[in-house]
């Protein structure tokens, strides 16, 4: 691999911002380097110090999106706009992280509002204790309907929620028995939602969590080796006391923030890429009572994180949002926002409408010939738009330090990352620029550099974060 920089501090800061956020311009990276790495981690972990995005600014332009309800698609546009404009990118990254675990979609819920409420909850509580998030999710009407807990009755249980709670949200296959699934489901009987009113052409009314005492099974349960008249919250406490749960959440964290792993269904049979790192995160989860802020602080400051640069394929949201943040001038909620939201969908990630309760498969599974074409075309079009301030700034920085083809290639790779690319890719880029003769900023320099930037975002290497 060719690295165009020896500046490890900047590389590391860029890595942190790609993973804990949606990337950053070189100017922002320089500014953050002045503050220091650990200080930047602290800033990311304390979103309350930043000015929150004013969603009403978006809604002034798009009033129909206040409660998108049964809208036929793109109800996630306000969230995408929030990601483009936030000063607290880790908060939004965590929303995606949790949305991918507690994957709930309009495909069944048929109402954007309740799923958007879940995202808002992730934004508010995502850095807190995992238990609080689990409890909120268990009481989320969207989740209750998505996993049929409204059909889970004292006299006839429905296991859907009880099973997924254990299989996908906490422990993983192989750590509980079928009896545990049933006992767990019994504990959540009566956790339902307010009856929905008949549909009419304006959609329907909001749902609310409702506990129906008469429909709750108060009897004794035997769950994961414990006996008692457990309710849902007590079951969650028992689940969280098990090391398997910490190991499972640790693996989710590792897969999302550190390095592409095999997908969830393989976890019961395929060991982690880096067992030591997952064990470390699991221990931190147990020791901190699953306090996510504490664990993420350890994660971002760990060596295994710092050494994992460019080992994840960017998800479609990262592709679109980080490109828009890089090129700039995308804060106004203009007509483009719906197209940008659509681009994420075309690249395979219809936010608020995951393909199943298992969420999106990530890593290389994001890539097929159609999605790769969409990614490449979107990034290429944006990065060559010289009217955008971020693009202009990249060209200015390159032109200050480079005047020969090789210098231009290396400066672009540096300002765009710094990126690491294969020897062969590097020689192709160099050949591309050199073959068009000497470089002259007075004549074709800018155009040629824009063409080079288009090729850089089209490389295989640029698909990685």
């Amino acid at each position: 691999m060719v690295s165009t920089t020896t500046n490890t501090e900047i590389s590391l800061m860029a890595h942190l911002m790609r993973r804990a956020g949606f990337g950053a311009s070189r100017n922002e990276l320089e500014e953050r380097r002045g503050k220091g790495y650990e200080e930047t981690v602290e800033e990311l972990l304390n979103p309350s110090n930043q000015t929150p995005v004013d969603i009403y600014e978006f809604l002034r332009y798009y009033p129909m999106w206040w409660k998108p309800g049964t809208m036929g698609g793109l109800g996630q546009a306000p969230w995408v706009w929030t990601m483009i404009n936030t000063e607290s990118p880790l908060q939004e990254k965590l929303c995606i992280f949790y949305h991918n675990i507690f994957a709930t979609g309009v495909a069944k819920v048929d109402h954007y509002d309740e799923i958007q409420d879940m995202i808002d909850m992730f934004r508010e509580k995502g850095l807190g204790h995992y238990k609080d998030i689990l409890l909120e999710v268990a009481k989320s009407p969207a989740m209750i309907y998505w996993l049929d807990n409204n059909e889970n009755h004292a006299d006839s249980i429905n296991e859907n929620w009880g099973r997924e709670l254990l299989e996908l949200f906490t422990m993983g296959v192989g750590n509980y028995t079928e009896e545990d699934v049933q006992e767990c489901s019994r504990a959540f009987t009566g956790w339902t939602l307010e009856h929905k009113l008949p549909r009419f052409h304006m959609g329907r009314w909001d749902w609310e969590f409702k506990f129906v005492e008469d429909d709750h099974d108060y009897g004794q349960k035997e769950f994961l080796g414990h006996k008692g008249n457990f309710d849902g919250e007590e079951v969650i406490d028992i689940i969280l006391s098990k090391p398997a749960t910490a190991a499972f959440i640790a693996r989710h964290l590792y897969n999302f923030f550190v390095e592409d792993e095999p997908q969830v269904p393989a976890w019961s049979v395929v060991p982690p890429n880096n067992p030591g790192a997952v064990e470390f995160l699991a221990k931190e989860l147990m020791d901190s009572d699953y306090h996510m802020e504490t664990v993420l602080r350890k994660l971002f400051n760990s060596d295994f994180f710092k050494e994992a640069q460019f080992s994840r394929v960017k998800n479609p949201t990262e592709v679109v949002v980080s490109t828009l943040r890089l090129v700039g001038d995308s804060s106004l909620p203009g007509p483009d926002i719906l197209d940008w939201t659509g681009q994420i969908v075309y690249m395979g990630q219809d936010l608020l409408n995951p393909p199943s309760v298992e969420g999106w498969h990530s890593g290389i599974e994001w890539i097929n010939s159609g999605t790769l074409m969409k990614r490449t075309n979107f990034m290429s079009e944006m990065i060559s738009d010289y009217s955008r301030p971020g693009v202009k700034s990249i060209i200015d920085q390159v032109s200050r330090s480079a005047s020969k083809p090789e210098e231009v290639v290396n400066a672009c790779l540096d300002v765009m990352g710094p990126l690491e690319i294969a020897e062969k890719t590097h020689s192709e880029l160099l050949e591309h620029v050199s073959s068009q003769g000497d470089f002259d900023w007075q004549s074709s320099g800018v155009t040629r550099t824009l063409e080079l930037l288009q090729l850089i975002v089209a490389t295989r290497e640029y698909q990685f974060a």
Partner: protein, 380 residues
């Protein structure tokens, strides 16, 4: 109906997104209940294009009525599945995946592609005309070309002039060629990039090879069907085409919206088949139209709300024209929550298409054994 062709069978799926109103598409004009239920949103007796003493088409469907009379349109009644959720997303998912009980991730046509081209020999075996891939076409390791606009399809299409784009694409190809020792992920990316280029190269020849006296209208469905005709006529080996038209979600202002949609669809479908006919290429093409559900029996004053049972149409020279199944009973007591009850499972209809038309094993495609309505000439 004509002699069976020796060419490979091709299917064109047209998805009517949003829930097409069955009762105003195939109007039960002699049933007095129809006018009782639909005081505001009805097709007047004089406007209905009568096909039989019981049913008639919406007036905007005149071109399809002609094709029906020529014996090339099958009207498949009362199609759906039990316990309709009346949700667009969920219902469309069910039609796409054939999984009414659980959430499926694989599409029925994705599984069909796998049978047609198990070794991925042709990257354009299936072409989806639209900005993103319909779930019906999704299956692991199955390439599908998603074409938004055939005239502007490919990698890095924003780069102009042509000479510059060629230069960049040439470099792209070199950057994506195999790199020894780069690892499986980089290799997969490289192969996928080259596949994308190859698919675009193949499809890009279609418009330039095409000439026709048929002038398609300037509507979205006409553009999509014209693109499909261009690809089909270029003989690129594409066997499955997919496109959609919408929105049929006519809660309000139904009469005007529904009229516009069917008018554009019918005209485009007639032009499409005329175009193929002119090039002697219609004999191996069957078109299939469906919607995720029909609409409520009672109108709401200006439109109709989400319903259950719907109607499917199969069109082409290999279709045995006529009616299949029964129009669901409209008697008050026979309705389910005010909706027509489907009595033909959509997977039965898919089975006919997969087995009798595409000559595939339908069981893994639709996920079970279903009795077939015999609407294809090759059905027996």
């Amino acid at each position: 109906m004509s002699e069976p062709t020796s060419k490979d069978p091709v299917i064109v799926v047209v998805q009517l997104s949003g829930g097409n109103d069955y009762m105003n598409t195939v109007v039960p004009h002699s049933n007095s209940l129809y006018r009782d239920y639909r005081p505001s949103v009805n097709i007047s007796e004089s406007d209905v294009i009568e096909l039989t003493s019981d049913i008639g088409f919406h007036p905007a469907m005149a071109p399809l009525a002609d094709m029906y009379k020529e014996g090339n349109v099958a009207v498949i009644h009362g199609v759906g599945y039990e316990n309709s959720p009346r949700s667009h997303f969920r219902s469309m998912d069910i039609w796409h995946t054939c999984e009414p009980e659980t959430l499926g991730t694989e599409g029925w046509l994705g599984r069909a592609i796998k049978q047609i081209d198990p070794n991925k020999e042709n990257v354009v075996t299936a072409v989806s005309m639209g900005p993103s891939l319909y779930r019906a076409l999704v299956a692991p390791d199955v390439p599908v070309a998603t074409v938004e606009n055939l005239d502007n399809y490919g990698l890095l299409t924003d780069i102009s002039p042509e000479q510059k784009r060629d230069r960049v694409l040439d470099r792209y190809k070199k950057m994506y060629s195999p790199m020894i020792g780069s690892g499986p992920v980089m290799e997969f990316l490289g192969q996928t990039g080259l596949d994308a280029m190859k698919g675009a190269d193949i499809l890009n020849v279609a418009p330039s090879m095409y000439s026709s006296t048929v002038e398609y209208a300037d509507t979205s469905i006409a553009k999509k069907l014209k693109g499909i005709a261009q690809i089909h006529l270029a003989n690129l080996g594409t066997r499955i085409f997919y496109c959609d038209l919408g929105s049929f979600d006519t809660h309000a202002d139904q009469l005007s919206t529904h009229n516009k949609l069917w008018s554009s669809a019918s005209t485009a479908i007639r032009d499409f088949f005329d175009d193929l006919e002119q090039h002697d290429a219609a004999d191996n093409v069957t078109m299939f139209l469906f919607s995720e559900f029909g609409r409520r029996v009672y109108d709401n004053g200006a439109g109709t709300d989400h319903g259950a049972g719907g109607v499917c149409l199969a069109i082409g020279k290999n279709v045995k024209g006529g009616e299949y199944g029964q129009y669901p009973s409209m008697k008050e007591g026979d309705l389910d929550q005010g909706d027509l009850v489907p009595d033909l499972d959509f997977r039965s209809v898919y089975t006919t298409l997969a087995e009798d038309w595409m000559r595939l094993d339908p069981v893994p495609i639709v996920g079970g054994n279903f009795e077939k309505p015999k609407f294809m000439a090759t059905s027996n």
